[in-house]
């Protein structure tokens, strides 16, 4: 409640009563605002759960010997990844279209990944050869478990190089992608 200024008192020399009124108002309402602020901040923090119940993002996908040449789609449904082997080794592509996150499908006859949502097309290396996708497919970090020799995939640790626009599409030089920890020379 801002009391009206007493008549004839210039704003500079604020009276002692006025001063203490302002101070007590400040402390009082300051306390209220601080408390509500604290509860608000707590409530905001409440919205971010500390424990997630999502499927684990680091998982094993069996021995390297279990995967033949070319694209293997057996883990796409359960883990949303493709395991690809070429002459030099193995890499794991993440089955998430870089345009808007749909799951593309592998067409072995055409040797292409095609996204059903907006028609993005990727080659087996993950380069964009058609459609609106802005970047190439992610490759997850993979390593060999020293104990049982299985391939361990870290789904959220991904290789995402900057592609180069070429007539054939958005390309990334393959040699630069086949590097530790996204490629296993097995």
């Amino acid at each position: 409640m801002a009391g009206a200024e007493q008549k004839g008192e210039s704003p500079e020399d604020v009276s002692r009563r006025r001063f203490f009124t302002l101070m007590s108002l400040g402390v009082g309402w300051g306390g209220v605002v601080a408390t509500l602020g604290g509860i608000g901040a707590g409530a905001a923090r409440y919205m971010f759960p500390s424990v997630l119940y999502e499927p684990p993002t680091v998982f094993k996908i069996g021995l390297p010997s279990g995967y033949g040449m070319g694209v293997d789609t057996k883990l796409k449904k359960e883990r949303q990844v493709w395991v690809v082997r070429n002459e030099r080794g193995i890499y794991v592509l993440v089955a998430i279209c870089r345009h808007l996150g749909c799951t593309p499908n592998w067409f072995s006859d055409q040797k292409l990944f095609r996204c059903p949502c907006h028609g993005s097309i990727y080659d087996p290396h993950g380069n964009v050869v058609g459609g609106p996708a802005p970047r190439t497919l992610w490759r997850s970090a993979i390593s060999l478990d020293p104990v049982d020799g299985q391939i361990v995939v870290d789904f959220n640790l991904r290789q995402d190089p900057d592609p180069v626009g070429t007539p054939e599409g958005l390309m990334v030089e393959e040699a630069s992608r086949e590097v530790e920890p996204y490629f296993l020379k097995v």
Partner: protein, 256 residues
């Protein structure tokens, strides 16, 4: 500093935006103090003036007001709990355990929800007692008393349905006891007098309708969840509105 603030304030007060939001100046003069009552949706529950006796706590003890405060608190904390609670018999208990352990402020919101629930039930009883002892239910306010009794029963059922949701042993068996009582109701309960005569059995009596089955299980949890989170709060809010409306229209009964 002070004049700067004053200058800003005078500028802001004149902007179209400010004037569209607040249809009255800062209530530091009687004119605005009356206007603030007319133009504010929440404050308009109050009359512009009350008798001096209203300010004394010794009449109403602020019981009705606090009951309404608990109801609002319950609504707010209830919404927060709903962000994490799933009425599924396999997950409900886990959600509540999470709320109590890993979710920041989760235990606070749940305890606050529980304590304001118990307080609301207690204060509804005390409020009813005060209204009886001051004879405030006498004509022309009889029906407002009836609305109060309806509010009392919805509060009890709200609290009872909420009791089941954590799905721990206390919850499950406290509610099973309650539903067994319903089974014994005459005419519509299978175990009640004249129930069997009317062909009531485990699959069509009142308890079956209450639990959505013959045992307190998933469907019972879901029914109680819907009743607790949506149906009953709406009904209670509706009757609270009627209750407040009649208080304003009939005026206070005492020296208020």
């Amino acid at each position: 500093m002070w004049e700067l603030f004053q200058r800003i304030r005078s500028v802001v007060n004149k902007t179209q935006a400010f004037k569209s939001i607040f249809r009255h100046g800062f209530p530091n003069n009687d004119g605005n103090r009356a206007l603030v009552m007319f133009s504010n949706i929440i404050l308009h529950l109050h009359p512009v003036r009350v008798r001096r006796g209203a300010l004394k706590i010794k009449f109403t003890w602020c019981l009705g007001g606090l009951t309404f405060f608990f109801f609002i608190l319950l609504a707010i904390t209830g919404v927060f709990l709903m962000f994490y609670y799933v009425p599924d018999t396999n997950r409900a208990y886990g959600n509540i355990k999470d709320l109590g352990t890993v979710i920041f402020f989760g235990d606070l919101f749940r305890s606050l929800h529980r304590w304001s629930a118990h307080s609301m039930v207690l204060f509804v009883w005390l409020h009813m007692t005060r209204v009886f002892f001051t004879g405030s239910y006498k004509p022309p306010r009889e029906f407002n008393w009836v609305v109060g009794v309806i509010l009392l029963s919805t509060t009890l059922v709200l609290s009872w349905t909420g009791y089941l949701l954590p799905w721990d042993q206390l919850a499950l068996w406290a509610v099973t006891v309650g539903s067994k009582m319903a089974e014994a109701s005459p005419l519509i309960g299978k175990a009640g007098p004249f129930g069997a005569e009317l062909g009531m059995n485990a699959n069509n009596d009142i308890t079956f309708a209450l639990l959505g089955g013959t045992v307190v299980g998933q469907s019972a949890l879901l029914r109680f969840y819907v009743l607790h989170c949506l149906a009953l709060p709406l009904v209670t809010a509706l009757f609270i509105a009627i209750h407040f409306w009649r208080i304003r229209k009939d005026g206070f009964s005492g020296p208020l």
